[in-house]
Structure formats: structure tokens, C-alpha cells
């Protein structure tokens, strides 16, 4: 459907020029522009505590977005991430009612995430099914189980020590979640850029058959990516549940869209094969700043979703419109 002609230029651009003209630097400019616009638009924006609050808008989503970026680079997608959060959160809520302590809760949250990821992974890599339908199915299934367990009820009563994961501060205004986000970002950046595993992910996304003949175990790598995405959703579930202090089956509804938007906005090709973690990090800041800035201006959440949806289409459409206009 999409055949791209790859031409080899006569002269390579200098690394500096390449970096200057990259998607990431464009995105950084956008982030700075939004930051400046926000500080003019609202007097409350430039306040250390407010900015710290703003990071909660994206830290949990970004954690999942890193794993999702790898998955999309490899040519697959996982739309069930938000439903995994719901299921993991429900499991933790049920455990609280049985008197499980904080370490046990974290263990349960992460295990449920891993199990859900493994389930997706087995269906996609083991049975060779298209990931988009499988994860649309598991999205209903996982959230459906939450609804069966909870109905219109909610779990609460999480222990005080558990709330640290969502409400704790490591130092001054630097929240635990933000530190976790930064650590995970570094891990994924190194994994994707320096490790054999990361190079294999790019190879699979560009040419699965070629990757297979190069000795890469394509299905195994993809399975691990689904596991990672599940694990990240589990971590996000722990943070989000700790931050909200309660579990409803509708928790994190629609996050899969925002996470995919974050990844695509970060310059990851939805067709697979290219993208960087740095891009996703900047995209996370852009989305966090936009939602926070609009929030300060009393713009309702659903109108923000127009902005998010417009960003998703716009960031892909504008470069293509630009090349169409230039090649005319």
C-alpha cells in the first residue's frame, strides 16, 4: 500500500546539520514555544509546584509510550495498554481488600501487567495473528474483566505507604514518578540505541524477512516487546492507582490513544522501522505542557482531546503536505 522510494544522496549531510534539521529539534522548538506561550498566557504557569504538577499529566503515559515506541518500531501495536492498567489496578484493589501490604500490591500490579503482555504476545507471535485486532479484542477483554469484578463499585483503602508511588516527592518538587520516568527513559534510550536488542527492533521494523535471515529471532523479540509493554502498563497502573487512591473499571479510559499519539508525535514511524526515545520524551513534554496550559486557561478536557487528535493527524499530515507542495 505504501511503497516508499529510498534514494541514496550523493553527499551525506554533516552530523551537525543532520541533528539540526531532525524531527527532534523541531519538536524541541515547539516545546519551547509552548512553554513561552504558556508563561505569557497564565501568571500561574511559572511556579515550581505548578510545573511539578504538570509532569503528572504525562509521566505515567510516557512510561508506557517508551515500550510502545519499541513495539511500533518493530511494526506491531498494542491498543490494550489502558485496559491492562484497569485490570492491574482492579487486581491490586482486590488484594487490598484481602489485607495485602504495599510490596505485595506492587508485585501483583507488575505481574498482572506482565501476564497481560504475555497473553497478547502469545496470540500475536505464537499464533501469527495481526496485533491490531488481537489488542482490540484484549482491550475489551481486560477491561471487561474489570467491569465483571467491580461493576459500578470502586476499590479504595490503599495503605498510606502505597501512595508514595503516586504522590511522593524525592526531593523538593521532584516527584517520585518524575524520577521513575527519567530512569526508564534512560534505560529505553540505551536499550534501543546501544544494545543488540534495540538494533534488532529496528531491523525487524524495516524488513522482517531480512531480519529473520540475519539470524534475528523475530518472534521472540516481538514477544519480549509485548512483555515489556505489559510490564510498563503494570508500572503505570501502580503509579496511577497510588496517585488516585482508588480503582474504578473506567480508570485510564482512552489512554491508548494518547500514548499512541505521544509515540507518533515523537517521530516514530507508525509503519515501523524508525524513531527515537529522545523524540518520545520531548513529545511527552509537549503534550503535558499543552494539556496543562489549556487546563490553566480553563479549557475543558474534551476540547483538549480535539487538540490531541489534531496533533496526531497534523504532525503526520503537515510534513507530507510540505513535501507534496515542494515537489510540485
Amino acid at each position: 500500500m505504501n511503497t516508499t522510494v529510498r534514494s541514496i544522496p550523493d553527499r551525506l549531510r554533516s552530523p551537525f546539520e543532520q541533528r539540526l534539521k531532525s524531527w527532534e529539534s523541531l519538536l524541541l522548538l515547539v516545546a519551547i514555544a509552548i512553554f513561552v506561550a504558556n508563561s505569557f498566557a497564565s501568571p500561574y504557569f511559572l511556579n515550581a509546584w505548578n510545573l511539578s504538577d504538570a509532569t503528572f499529566n504525562f509521566t505515567e503515559k510516557a512510561m508506557i509510550a517508551f515500550a510502545m515506541a519499541l513495539l511500533i518500531i518493530s511494526g506491531e501495536i498494542d491498543l490494550s495498554v489502558a485496559a491492562i492498567i484497569a485490570l492491574a489496578s482492579t487486581a491490586m484493589g482486590a488484594a487490598v481488600q484481602m489485607g495485602v501490604g504495599t510490596p505485595g500490591l506492587v508485585f501483583i500490579g507488575l505481574s498482572v501487567g506482565l501476564l497481560c503482555g504475555a497473553f497478547n504476545g502469545i496470540l500475536v507471535t505464537g499464533m501469527g495473528l495481526p496485533s491490531i485486532v488481537v489488542t482490540i479484542g484484549t482491550m475489551s477483554l481486560f477491561r471487561g474483566i474489570s467491569f465483571i469484578v467491580l461493576g459500578d463499585q470502586a476499590y479504595g483503602g490503599y495503605p498510606a505507604s502505597f501512595s508514595y508511588f503516586g504522590q511522593g516527592y524525592v526531593w523538593w518538587v521532584i516527584s517520585f514518578e518524575f524520577v521513575l520516568f527519567a530512569i526508564i527513559a534512560v534505560i529505553y534510550a540505551v536499550l534501543l540505541r546501544k544494545a543488540n536488542f534495540g538494533r534488532a527492533v529496528y531491523a525487524i521494523g524495516n524488513n522482517p524477512t531480512g531480519a529473520m535471515f540475519s539470524g534475528i529471532r523475530v518472534q521472540r523479540v516481538k514477544f519480549i516487546l509485548f512483555l515489556l509493554t505489559g510490564l510498563m502498563s503494570g508500572i503505570a497502573a501502580v503509579c496511577l492507582t497510588a496517585r488516585l487512591g482508588s480503582t474504578r473499571p473506567s480508570i485510564a479510559t482512552g489512554w491508548e490513544l494518547e500514548i499512541v499519539t505521544m509515540v507518533v508525535l515523537g517521530g516514530v514511524s507508525i509503519l515501523g522501522g524508525s524513531g527515537t526515545i529522545v523524540g518520545v520524551v520531548i513529545a511527552a513534554f509537549v503534550m503535558g505542557l499543552v494539556t496543562f496550559g489549556l487546563g490553566l486557561l480553563n479549557v475543558p478536557g474534551i476540547v483538549m482531546s480535539i487538540v490531541i487528535g489534531g496533533l496526531l493527524i497534523g504532525v503526520i499530515a503537515l510534513p507530507r503536505l510540505w513535501t507534496m507542495w515542494r515537489s510540485r
Partner: protein
Amino acid sequence: MLKRLITSREALLVGAIGLLLILISTRFSGFAAPSNLANVFNDTSPLILLAIGQMIVILTKCIDLSVAANLALTGMVVSMVNVAMPGLPIIFIVAIAIGLGALLGMFNGILVWKLQIPPIVVTLGTMTIFRGIIFLLSDGKWVNSHEMSPAFKAFPRAEILGLPVLSWIAIFAVIVFGIVMTRTTLGRAFYAAGGNPHAATYAGINVGKTQFWAFTISGALAGLTGYLWVSRFAVAYVDIASGFELDVVAACVIGGVSIMGGIGTVAGALLGALFLGIIKNALPVVDISPFWQLAISGGAIIIAVILNAQANRKKGRIILKQAEQAS
């Protein structure tokens, strides 16, 4: 010929639906009565209409996740038109609904065709944009039953030959699209564009344009359903039919429509929708909490997609793929 008919996907589904009905009847004997089945069909009609549109889109290797948002937006617009001009004949309301729905579908289609943006990205985006626009139009307010004109609300319920108009529209759509998909150039182009885009291009079919028309049809059907939905339930607000796009995709997958494109029939989409509709209507009757419905449709999607893959694997055309699985 007969053997092929019996082992076909549709026959399998008819069997599954029959079995389902027998199972439900053992718990509640009145369920399989003709009058109740007519009610179930009427209740499933919106899903059938959307599933036909979605099937055509999926045939061309695309997916339309914005159908439910399109339905809600069109429903809100026609309700507001009705509130502003209560005297406007229903035929105009229907025309506005189909026209606006088609326009929204065309917007998706243009982005997929001219800018070659992956359909899942386009429709995920338009899904939230459409919902947001409803909020901007309505200010988050509801259009309630007493604000709508009686004629506006009566149309889908009016009975012809014992069946409501809503059901007749679904039947009409099944027949029309059954003919379009099997007997017209455009219908065959949908199969060609999804089955083998390269071959379709060499056969003189503009694949992008075919996808554009698929989105337009899906949008038009969603728009029509939007009016039928708000008039039947006599209320319009931002969140109507929220998450319904998943049911629609589920109906298609259960009906044997291959997500890889090129495979699927109108009858399959119809049966897939009926399967889900019967489950949805049977749950309260057999004393299962409606909260089970989401998990059941999720499970049904997964089982159906596994069955589809098994059915398509037998052909074994691609040698390399099997080597990959062996490793």
C-alpha cells in the same frame, strides 16, 4: 458446491447462532419466539448498518475507528436542526444525516488517499476530534426527548408490515450492499484493492480512491445510523454510542472479515452483528450482569480472529511464512 456451502463461514455462523438460541431457550423459552427475535433484530439494526460500512473499509485493508463518533456527531447535529426547525420534513433530516456522515467519512478518506496517512492513525484522531466537536456544538448539554418533534422521534418506530422502519432500513441496506459488493465494478474493486493492491493497480483500479469511497460509504451509513439512534432513544449527548466502534469491528471479525483485507461478505457482517446482538439481548434474560458484555465481546473477537487465521492458513500460499513459524 453443496459441500462448500455447508463448510462456509456463513453456514458455520448460522449454526453457532442456532446453537446459541437453543442454549438461551433452555433457560428462557420465550426468547426464540418470532416476536422477540424481531425485537432483537430491531435492536441490532444500528450495529448491522455500521458493520456493513466497516466491512467495506476493512476489505480495502483499512479500519474506521471513528464510526461511533461520527454517529454521535451526526446525531447531535440533526437533533439540533430538529430543535431549531421542528417543521422540517423527516426526509430532509435523513438527507442531512447521510450527507454529513458521508462528509465526515470523506475527511477520513482524503487523509488516507491523498496524504497516505495510516487509517488507524487517521481514525483514532478523527474519533476524538468528532467527539470534541459535539461538545463545542452542544456546550455539553443534552438534547432531550421533549425538545424533539414527534415526527422526528416517530420515524424509526413507524411500522410497515409489522416491522419497524429501523429494521426495514437494515434489511434494505443488507440487500443493496449485497448486490453492490457482488454485482458492481465498485464492489469488486473493494475486494481487489484489499486482496492484492499491486495487482489491482495494474488492473487499472485506483487503490487510494477505492479506499476513499469505502470511508465515504462507512461515513454515510454511520450518519444515517446517527439519526436513527438519537430518534430511537430520544436523546442526544456527547457520549452516545461511546466505544461502539469496538462492537462494530468485533461484528466484522466474528463475521469472517479478514483484517488483512480482501476477504468478507455482507452476509458475514450481518451474521456477526446478529451474534453479538443476540448475546447482548440474552444476558439480562438469563440473569447475567450486563457488565459481562464487554468481556464477552472481547473474548468473541479473539476466538473469531483465531478461527479466521486457521481457516486462511490451510491454503498455505506463502512458503516463507511457514519457515518462519518452524524456526
